[in-house]
Symmetry: C2
Subunit: 338 residues, 2 copies
């Protein structure tokens, strides 16, 4: 387990420099020699030591990605897109899961820094930009994912969450709902507050519509179910007739709880709309209306921006966008009347 270029060199009767050349610039080496070296590599079962490579190079060949929740298909889709783009340039994506916890987020940032990643893609838990600012100042580019920013120092790839929130809110009022509820997560998460802001604007534009806010501790199925149970337990008159969930996971949980309750029908009594349009949204008890975001494309674009920032992109030509903003799209299914 300790076969080094040195051993390969000895076995092929060449110098270590030549072995390295065979590995990295085979064209610069005489065909016969390449052959001999390859044979030695094969025979000895030599495997490059990436640590040594990185040490010499000063940088790794990977990109760090920190998401809020790996269990949310929306984020795994982003990760897939990111991986695809990274692979095009022979890079690897290191996936970190902050679980909406600033401490975990911090330790992934530390880890990535120690690994000397080429850059960090992150959906931050909080507004703790200073930490990221330091990273960037230290020479590691940062791309904010699924999060807009006014800060010119950061690249970002996002979807307009205010517009998305507005789409959802306007849709609920358009189908005649008057007592709306927004079921969200911690407002420290920007996506949550932006979507709420959008919904507020839609409500403000529709006379006689009220908006109540239910603040949950996390954007998960479990929390959604809790919210749903709380709502189902209310006397009918106090229940909302339209619910906008901050993401599909919450919506799925809400749906489970609401459907369980015998005196409640979706969408007749309560219309429900989620956010992200994950694959499963189309397959729920009552197919779920949602606001679609191009997840894989977001990941793909984020890595693309990063590589351009590094000047490494295949077709890198210097100038490039610093921020990309996609637009969300309303997807209507039966949970809001189909």
């Amino acid at each position: 387990m300790a076969v080094s270029v040195r051993d390969v060199a000895a076995a092929a009767s060449v110098s270590v420099g030549t072995v390295s050349n065979v590995l990295n610039r085979p064209a610069k080496v005489a065909p016969g020699t390449v052959e001999r070296v390859m044979q030695a590599i094969e025979q000895l079962g030599f495997v490059r030591n990436d640590a040594a490579r990185q040490l010499r190079a000063g940088r790794s060949r990977s990109i760090g990605l920190i998401v809020l929740d790996v269990r949310n298909p929306f984020f795994t889709d982003i990760a897939r897109g990111a991986e695809d783009r990274a692979a095009e340039d022979g890079m690897t994506v290191l996936l970190g899961n902050s679980d909406e916890d600033p401490v975990r987020e911090g330790s992934y940032l530390d880890l990535f820094q120690e690994q000397r990643v080429n850059g960090v893609l992150i959906t931050p838990v909080t507004e703790d930009i200073p930490r990221l600012e330091r990273l960037r100042a230290g020479g590691t580019p940062v791309v904010l994912v699924d999060r807009q920013t006014d800060d010119d120092n950061f690249c970002s790839v996002a979807v307009d969450d205010v517009e998305g929130g507005h789409l959802a809110g306007a849709h609920l009022t358009a189908i005649g709902r008057r007592r709306l509820a927004f079921v969200g997560g911690p407002p420290s998460i920007r996506q949550v507050s932006d979507r709420l802001e959008g919904a507020r604007r839609a409500v403000a534009a529709a006379p006689g519509v009220a908006l109540e806010v239910l603040e949950m501790t996390a954007l998960t199925v479990l929390e959604g179910r809790r919210a749903g149970e709380a709502i189902a337990a209310r006397p009918p008159a106090e229940r909302p007739d339209g619910i906008f969930a901050a993401n599909d996971l919450l919506a799925v949980g809400l749906l489970q709880a609401l459907v369980m309750s015998s005196d409640l029908r979706v969408p007749e009594d309560i219309a429900l709309i989620g956010y992200d349009d994950i694959d499963f949204a189309a397959a729920t008890v009552v197919p779920l209306s949602s606001v679609r975001q191009p997840a894989a494309l977001i990941g793909y674009t984020a890595v693309d921006l990063l590589l351009r920032e590094l000047g490494l992109a295949k077709d890198g030509d210097g100038a490039h966008e610093r921020s990309v903003l996609f637009r969300p799209e309303l997807v209507v299914r039966e949970s809001t009347g189909g």
Copy 2:
């Protein structure tokens, strides 16, 4: 961006050895010195270079995990469990996604080898054990995940898939279904063939029951939908009355397609059962019966086995199990009559 221990040493007026000791064995260094060094580190913004560390150590501090599909919640749950256990010993999990493609699987294995991971957890795409054998021979322990093996050389953590298949098959016959269909993926995937085998045994034990096999190209929602459309397109008499899907993703796709078809009801006309019992199974159009596997526990246990194999576990005491086999559990919901 080039602050090294050397710079820190200079700033704190100590030797590099002392800086290293402060970092790794602070107890061996005089308190005053620790203080001074820490200050220098803080001031210079020093961050350890992991590549150099690894090079010296000969090994990394990570574990490779290769799963069949990151988009399947079952596997992200496994990953979560694995991460949790790894974190307990200060290790990191590198997540690779083979997408059921032997080529991708191979390149992740290469990557992990170059990174000198401490071990590899893998749910192999094929029966290409030789490749893994070589890895193991090279000193990298391998733990097969969600896959049994007779091979004494490998540790493994699995759930009895034959028993699981039998549970599903027996359940369908028990509720009176006679024309069963098994919707699976490529039979090269062991889980698929084992579950089918279990179903076959259940069918063999029930007189007058037929079992048809639909072989899809992948275990995804999309393929499930394709299968469902094909079945819905048949004349009613030729349709199965009970379907066992090799995993929940397929089942979700099947459900979408079947429900779409107006002359078909689930479970009345066709009962459907999936496998894995992912979170979403309880929230589908018709809540999905499934065979539950303890995903997070599988991941947790796999890393635990690996660490013991390495003799690194916190409470490592030498002897340990080489294989762990969990038992699957039948979860009945409305898609098979509730």
